[in-house]
Symmetry: none
DNA sequence: GTGGTCTAGACCACA
DNA sequence: GTGGTCTAGACCACT
């Protein structure tokens, strides 16, 4: 699993895990019914607490991105990205951040440029 | 003072206060050396605890946006917006939110449109 | 009375008044039994609240620097500077400030230079 | 953690904590990325309220001396002392205190000796 | 366990 | 009246 964590980020670790798995699906690296690594294996690999990884997996399942077969493991859902119910929350976060940025005097063009650069990165 | 609070927002109340005061400065409603409402008056007005409002004012002062004369009140600093040391943090928040949005399958154009609409609002 | 107040300073206004009167005595401008301006006149002159000036005068009298004849006014005491019981407190304030400066990485020489420059100013 | 508090000092408790942590960094006892004690543990240890300790840590973080990972703890920043934005304020406090001391008839040499003795203490 | 937010309320210093 | 400090304690998010 190509997942890297930045412990110094203010973004919760479980969010980083979720985001990176979603990115891998988006990029086609992970396909429907592919098996995810076990929670314990990933926690060991990333040197994280099992609970932290568990929380990420729980969220993904709750959002309809993955499904779990008890005793077998977690797998990518059929229509993972279409199911994803996390989009709304993500959009709201962007709205909040942009509003805060505007209040702090950040120019519109500054943000537009930032968005462009982010979407250029690894597409 | 035209400050409105959304108690149900995930954005901390004191951040909402900070942002709204910054907006008022940006819009020219509040000018250097203008006096802000007293923390007690604002707390009463917004039905908040004094400490919550105080936290907002403390942050603004630490950021160089306002200055406080104990026993007299808080005032807008001479170069409030130039001093503002909160911009960097705000930009970082936008970056994080956009990255998270991208991971969740939000299209670039969707974000660009959102940014445009936010900046059209009251500028 | 040549007293000037800096409303923007973190030093309490009544302390500024006390300090300036003490300086005037130190410089010989005010001599024993000279009459100080009335509290009201000074408050009017400096555009301050009467209570603020009153507090300064009270402190000076309590410290043995001045004496008051009810209905007549306040006067410089015979041995104003020798009597002054405020020295100890002032020394303690310097100690605290220097300790704090040391903690914040200010070099000894920096402070020594500052002290020299202050004592050169108007002596 | 070797932190001692003087409850009877006019220096706010949270300032005492800030100063002592800064001293520990200055002395090399605390190094970049070292973890500070938890605010709860320190509060318990010093018999203080959690919020008082929190205020100290908040200030240190705002000044760029520490960084905080929610849920994990607070740590010394990479360039803690270089970042420290509190130096200016500390210098201003010394200036004010010395001016006040001069007004109260404290001799220059008295202050110079005091500064020397303070810097001899534990350097 | 960690820190983050918020409330309620006391007491003090200053204007 | 103003802001500043401190306490006690609740509730939440994250590890």
């Amino acid at each position: 699993m190509m997942v890297t964590i930045d412990l110094r980020s203010r973004v919760p670790i479980y969010e980083q895990i979720k985001n990176q798995i979603l990115e891998l699906i988006l990029l086609g690296v992970l396909k429907p019914h592919d098996q995810l690594p076990s929670i314990r294996a990933l926690a060991l690999d990333l040197k994280l607490n099992v609970n932290t990884v568990k929380r990420a997996f729980q969220d993904l399942e709750a959002a309809g991105v993955t499904y779990t077969l008890p005793g077998r493991g977690s797998f990518i859902a059929e229509n993972a990205l279409e199911n994803n119910q996390l989009k709304g929350k993500a959009l709201q976060e962007i709205r909040d951040a942009v509003l805060s940025g505007r209040a702090n005097g950040i120019e519109k063009d500054e943000i537009l440029a930032l968005v462009e650069s982010i979407y250029q990165d690894e597409k």
